[in-house]
Assembly symmetry: C2
């Protein structure tokens, strides 16, 4: 793993730590401020704009059932000063799979986008079988 | 819309045209060859590697029910020589929401990643209501 891949993974972990820790101030710092941002929460329409994106996190974190979330199976993908991480999100009641897109601002990886959606449990995914629906 | 945003949207449309047209040769050309690629089909584990990614498209396109898919509500996000498009995927039986990540190779936008997942219909999404689950 290269240095850039390592720092990308670290930025991704910092995101989940802030999420799990319900640390909105830290989440604010982890999201890009010089690029447009968006988020697609599971089963929801896209949320656009920094204010709306952070507000969506606030509502989840301060909501009646903020998730005890952890990430696993992270894989980094680099494209110069941009990159993304694919990872599984382990929740109390199941798993999601997420794409987190980052851009480098002032030498630090900052989030510009997050999409999470349903995924079969990792054990089931190991079983053979092609995707037959898009 | 800037020139880069326009070409990013065009690359995204070319992807859906190739998908709808079941044009695997065109899909092959639209996916990056100098960067690592991945795809997360709805409800499936991540697929990694160019060969596996293209094989997953082949199975969908040549499968028993290849979708009649169109994209709408595209929004481009630029990060220099990388970018992504968020769009809705209109299928015969419903809608999905997708993130398509691109990188510039030899002056052309090429796909490096696609994640699609469930979304409420656009009409329902207009109704007020915060995301209460992650």
């Amino acid at each position: 793993m290269t240095g850039d891949e390592r720092t990308l993974i670290e930025a991704n972990r910092a995101f989940y730590e802030a999420f799990r820790g319900r640390d909105l101030s830290r989440l604010d710092k982890l999201w890009a401020s010089e690029h447009e941002v968006a988020v697609i929460h599971p089963g929801w329409a896209a949320v656009h704009g920094r204010g709306e994106v952070l507000e969506s996190w606030r509502r989840i974190i301060e909501g009646p059932s903020p998730p005890d979330i952890r990430c696993s199976a992270e894989r980094p993908f680099l494209m110069g000063d941009a990159g993304f991480v694919i990872c599984r999100e382990l929740l109390g009641g199941g798993e999601l799979i997420a794409t987190n897109v980052f851009v480098r601002e002032d030498g630090e990886w900052r989030l510009v986008h997050h999409q999470a959606g349903p995924v079969p449990p990792a054990a089931a995914a190991e079983e053979p079988g092609p995707p037959t629906v898009h």
